[in-house]
Structures are given as C-alpha cells and as structure tokens.
C-alpha cells in the first residue's frame, strides 16, 4: 500500500479552507449589511 497520508491531509486542508472561508464570507457580509441597514434606518428616522 502506498504511503499517501500527506496527500489526504492536503486534500482536506483545501476542503476546510474552502468551506470555512465561504462561511466566514457569508457571516462578514451579513454583518456589514446589517450595520449599513442600521445606519440607513437611523438616517431615515432623522429625516422624518
């Protein structure tokens, strides 16, 4: 049997980076949009 453990680890590192990276991007974008929404809603209240 070939010794290929390092390749397996590399494969799952790539997988983890892809998944965690995407989840993180979703969270950060949602947080940024919520902040924008709060600011805009405050501005709207002040205008009214």
């Amino acid at each position: 049997m070939a010794e290929t453990t390092n390749y397996m680890i590399a494969g799952y590192v790539v997988f983890s980076i892809g998944m965690v990276g995407y989840l993180l991007s979703l969270v950060l974008r949602a947080r940024s949009l919520k902040q924008d929404l709060d600011v805009l809603q405050d501005m709207e209240k002040k205008e009214n």
Partner: protein, 232 residues
C-alpha cells in the same frame, strides 16, 4: 434582516450533525483502499462537493427559467446564490481531485476530458459573476443572467458524461470504467455507503447554504432600496 426561520435553524443543525457523521464515516468507517492508501479518502468529499457544484448550476438554470416566466427578481437572487455556492464547491472538488491525482496519475493536472470540461464549467460560471457586475439595471441584469444560467446548464451534463463518452484516465466509479482509467477501484459496501452518505449530507448543506445566501441577497436589496430612497 428578518428573524431567522425556525426551519432554517433546524436545517443548520441537521447539516452540522450529518457533516460530523459523514466525516466520521470517511475517516473511521470506510476501509483504507489497498493500493492508493489514505489518499483515497479524499474521494468521498471530492465526489460530494462536485455533486453539489453541478446541482447548484442546474438549480441556477431552473431559477433562471423562474425569472423569465415571472419577472420576479427573487428568482434572480436565488440563481446568483446557487451559482456562488456551486463555484466554491466545484473549485474545492477540482483541487481535491488534483491532489488525489498526484499519487494516482503521477501529475496534479492533465487535460483529459473530465478535468477539461470541469474547468470550462467553472470558468463559465466565474464569468457569469464578472459579467453581472457590468450590468447596472437590475431588470436587464436579471434577464441576461437568466438566459446565461440556462445556457450554462448545457455544460453540466457534458461534464458529467465526459468520462463515459471519451477515452480518459479519470476513473468511472459507478458503472463501467474505461480500460484507460487509472486510479479506479472496486468499492466495498462500506465505501459505497460512505460516498452516498456524503452526497446526501452535502446536498442538505447546499440547501441550508442556499437559504442563507438568498437571505443575504434579500438584505442587500433592502439596503440598496433604502439607500436609493434616502438619495432622492
């Protein structure tokens, strides 16, 4: 953002539990393949991520049809969400496959039919995101995107059947393998169960992510509308 629906909460937890079980099966239930050794364990999530990638591209095409039939921008949001998620999963599948190929084929990359069609599919949808950014009018962008995703769908079955139509070194795990295939293996029942469980798990994860991404798109629309309202 609207309150997170209870069903989405349930879906998140189900996804997490399924993912933990699938990971456990990959590392502790599926046997080590006799010739390739440990790297064969990459195969389970490689297949599952590739499946989700192609599934999402088809979902995007269906959402495109939904938009053309209704002119409702919610379909455009769904289509964009599906493409974005699929691009990530499909890119991960391609890189994982490439890592598996190194000890199996002796090279990270070769322009054989499956790798070539998969790369073309990935590029088609990467271009979709870039082209969307060039269109400012939401209606026009949605119409253009809908037609693009419907046409883009053609690449999905071509990618899927490429290893069955052409002589290739990419193994066909389910069905008859070409004599030229390298790195193919006979799946034991435990291997097959692990693969199928991973595919189901990633399909559930895809649905959960799609729902989250659609909600993000709705929030972005809300912010944009408020911004336009205040600018007037």
């Amino acid at each position: 953002m609207e309150t997170k629906p209870r069903l989405l909460n349930v879906l998140d937890w189900v996804s997490l539990v399924l993912f933990v079980i699938a990971t456990g099966m990959v590392f502790f239930y599926a046997p080590t393949e006799a010739i390739m050794g440990q790297v064969q364990r990459v195969f389970y999530f490689h297949v599952a991520t590739a499946w989700v990638g192609l599934l999402g591209f088809i979902a995007a095409g269906l959402a495109g049809i939904g938009y053309l039939r209704t002119n409702n921008l919610k379909w455009d949001n769904a289509s964009l969400a599906a493409v974005e998620i699929s691009l990530i999963f499909f890119a991960v599948a391609i890189v994982m496959g490439s890592i598996w190929a190194r000890p199996s084929w002796g090279t990270y990359w070769t322009w054989e039919p499956r790798l070539t069609t998969a790369t073309v599919t990935e590029l088609i949808y990467a271009a979709y995101l870039l082209l969307r950014q060039g269109l400012e009018d939401p209606e026009r962008r949605a119409r253009f995107s809908a037609v693009y995703t419907i046409l883009g769908c053609i690449s999905v079955p071509i990618t899927f059947v490429s290893i069955r139509l052409f002589r290739t070194i990419h193994p066909v795990v389910i069905g008859n393998a070409d004599a030229a295939a390298q790195g193919g293996f006979s799946m034991t029942p435990a291997m097959f169960q692990t693969m199928m469980f991973s595919v189901v798990t990633f399909s559930v994860i895809f649905v959960a992510l799609l729902w989250h991404r659609i909600r993000l798109g709705n929030l972005a629309d809300k912010v944009e509308q408020l911004r336009l309202k205040l600018a007037q």
